[in-house]
């Protein structure tokens, strides 16, 4: 081997060692860049925007945390946050109970159960805007299905969308109809993955269905249940399309979720800084909920 060939080989080896060291970072780079581009930068830009006063489509001055203070003192923001929290609580609670009940029912190998399982997931695959339109047609006081049925039975028109309390209930009902299938699917998968031995032992010991559910099914299903609730809670916080089509937040502010108020503030009123501050505050609430839920899951796993 000549000296020049030896030098060439040594250089190649050195290059190779360098590349070996850099390779993990190079392979990670695309994913990292993607995360930076679609998560970190928007968050940074959103935060920067939230500290600016915007008028006429441009940032006029830096105002520090004034937009956050303004949001906190804005009755409409507080009202929409309260409506959102109530909406999330009632929707997720109903969906959990119904989803669990349906999952328990469909976990058994009964006749027509496959058909029922398929039918149950249909609402989830319909576009939210379409769901909003369908429910608007259902609830409309003049020509809606509910009013038509009520009048054919001798009753009067059913006022859902023109009454604040009923409109809120109607919105929760829409969400429950659409998203119970998601809870059902997750919980059904959870139930079907449970070990059979504890249930057989309980049956041998003479435990009834309710006792078996409380002592075995529910404790073993709890981690899955928490995951399902967390996922649905995060999703419910961002509900927009259906409300936009169904009520646009009305009557009054009875169904004005924070997503609707944020959208109007940003796109209709062009108050970019203020809208960014509001929505970042909501993001913090959602992150706090998720963080608490994640800790709960970890504690369950280690218990």
């Amino acid at each position: 081997m000549t000296a020049s060939t030896r030098n060439g080989v040594t250089r190649l080896r050195r290059q190779g060692e360098g590349l070996d060291r850099a390779l993990p970072y190079l392979l990670l780079a695309p994913a990292l860049l993607l995360v930076l581009a679609v998560v970190v930068y928007p968050l940074y830009d959103g935060f920067r925007t939230s500290t600016q006063f915007w008028r006429f489509g441009r940032a006029l001055e830096d105002v520090g945390l004034d937009n956050y203070r303004q949001a906190w003192n804005d009755p409409q923001f507080r009202s929409s946050l309260w409506v959102t929290l109530r909406f999330v609580f009632f929707s997720v609670a109903c969906e959990t109970v119904l989803g669990l009940g349906l999952a328990l029912l469909c976990a058994r190998e009964l006749r027509f159960i496959r058909w029922a399982r398929t039918a149950l997931i249909v609402p989830m695959v319909i576009t939210p805007v379409v769901v909003g339109i369908v429910f608007r047609l259902l609830y409309a006081s003049d020509t809606g299905l509910l009013s038509t049925v009520s009048q054919s039975l001798g009753g009067g028109q059913v006022q859902v969308l023109s009454d604040p309390s009923r409109a809120f209930v109607g919105l929760v009902a829409l969400d429950v109809w659409e998203w119970t299938p998601l809870m059902f699917l997750i919980l059904l998968a959870g139930i079907q993955s449970l070990p059979v031995e504890p249930f057989e032992a309980a049956r041998v010991d003479g435990a009834g269905a309710w006792r078996t559910f409380l002592d075995h099914t529910l404790p073993m299903l709890r981690p899955v249940l928490i995951v399902a609730i967390v996922l649905r809670t995060i999703d419910a916080f961002t509900t927009f399309d259906q409300v936009y089509v169904l009520t646009h937040g009305g009557p009054g502010t009875s169904t004005e979720l924070i997503s609707i108020y944020g959208f109007d503030t940003f796109f209709k009123f062009q108050q970019f800084g203020y809208a960014a501050a509001m929505l970042l505050m909501v993001a913090l609430v959602v992150m706090a909920v998720s963080f608490l839920a994640a800790r709960l899951i970890r504690r369950q796993a280690t218990a």
Binding site: R55, G57, S162, G250, P251, G252, Q270
Partner: protein, 463 residues
Amino acid sequence: MNDNYLPEEHALSRRTILQRALAIGGLAVAAPLLAACGSSGDSSTPTSTPSTGTPVGSGPTGSGKVIIGGFEDGAMAPFKDKIVPLFKEKTGIDIELLLEPYDSFKAKALQDGQSKAGQFDVYIMDDPWVPEFAAAGYLADLGAAGITADPDFSAPFIELGYWPPQNGPRVKGFESATPALVALPTIGDLQTLTYRNDVFTNGAPKTWDDLVTTATAAQKAGKIKYGYVFRGVKGNPIVTSWYPIFLSFGGVFFDDKWNPTFNSAEGKASADFFVSNLKAIAPAGVAEFDSDQEGAAILGGEAAAIIQYSGNAIKSDDPAQSKEVGKLDFGVVPAKTKALAQIGIFIHGVSSNAPNKDNAMTFMRWFATLEAQVALAQAGDLPVLNAAFTDPTAVAAHRLLPVALDQIKSGAQARPRMPDWGKVEDIIGTELNKALVAGKGGGAALDAAAVQVKAALTDLKYY
């Protein structure tokens, strides 16, 4: 064979392949990004030189297209059917008309202006949008392209094309600016009364009291289901319905310093009348009614009267849409102290970042000609030139025209010329909607709204 013995330039190791693959991959990713970054110099860039466009009346000598964005409305149907092909025939330029729902188009157009994307050449706007778009610099100065306002434009319409406004209060930052022509009226829309001639047998009711009295009697006699119908949904719909009542009672929205004055005694009386007297003769669920439902009530023969814009009024004579053809007539809106309607014209401006600015300017010039305006009126829309309102061929084809002209003479006012009217309207509309649901408390609703409007305008540094 040992790789070590290959000549260096021929060695193709796993690492070399990886290096080259990374380089090629990097180039593949970077190329479109670089191309996108460098695209600011291509044909989509707005030209900074004054545009003149194809001379109007020179025949079909133009080419290319003009992208016009607008919002869906009944009044856009004649524009689409008649004006779009006529413009092509006269100038040789294609119109690409992109229509979307009202809120959706506004959001998209504002985004287009803010991002300078150049998605549209011409925005067809609702007139309250002009201050918002113009203050942000999204509209080109038409004067710089040599376009001036034709003296035959209806005076209350052309005033809306200037920013800052030539008359009335101005927002901070524009107090001393010279008004520039940034938009031209497209469709001269304004509210008029549509009523059932078998209920109001003596013609259009002259006052609000006449309307309520006659409609109530007709309801009691079983001649009609509802005496009056309107839009009660929060925000723009309910405020639009209440507006002519507010004006006719003598209400004024702001003083010269932008302090809210809409909760004056006159304003409160109009709101109380609206949420109680008018609700009493309207459908029970009117608080959820929007255009589709109020339209169904009047065209379906359930309601005796409605105040609406021309795009919906012209449906009265269309057997495909109305069950009551021949029973619906038009009139000036009822009065309390005055018979005033809301102006809600369609108005179009050229985007500051229009990719086809020359063609856009050609459209602006052509559409302001009497020929185009008469064609628009014949097709069923309200024109914007005075001469087109009285053109015999147009009047023969469009019986709403003389009534609209009467309404302009009687009085018609545009909404306050401020960039934040949307926010103000949202606040008033929400409070009025609450009162409408309750069927009382219209005056108190305006008091509550005034406090919120004052706070909102303070945050926006109006004072």
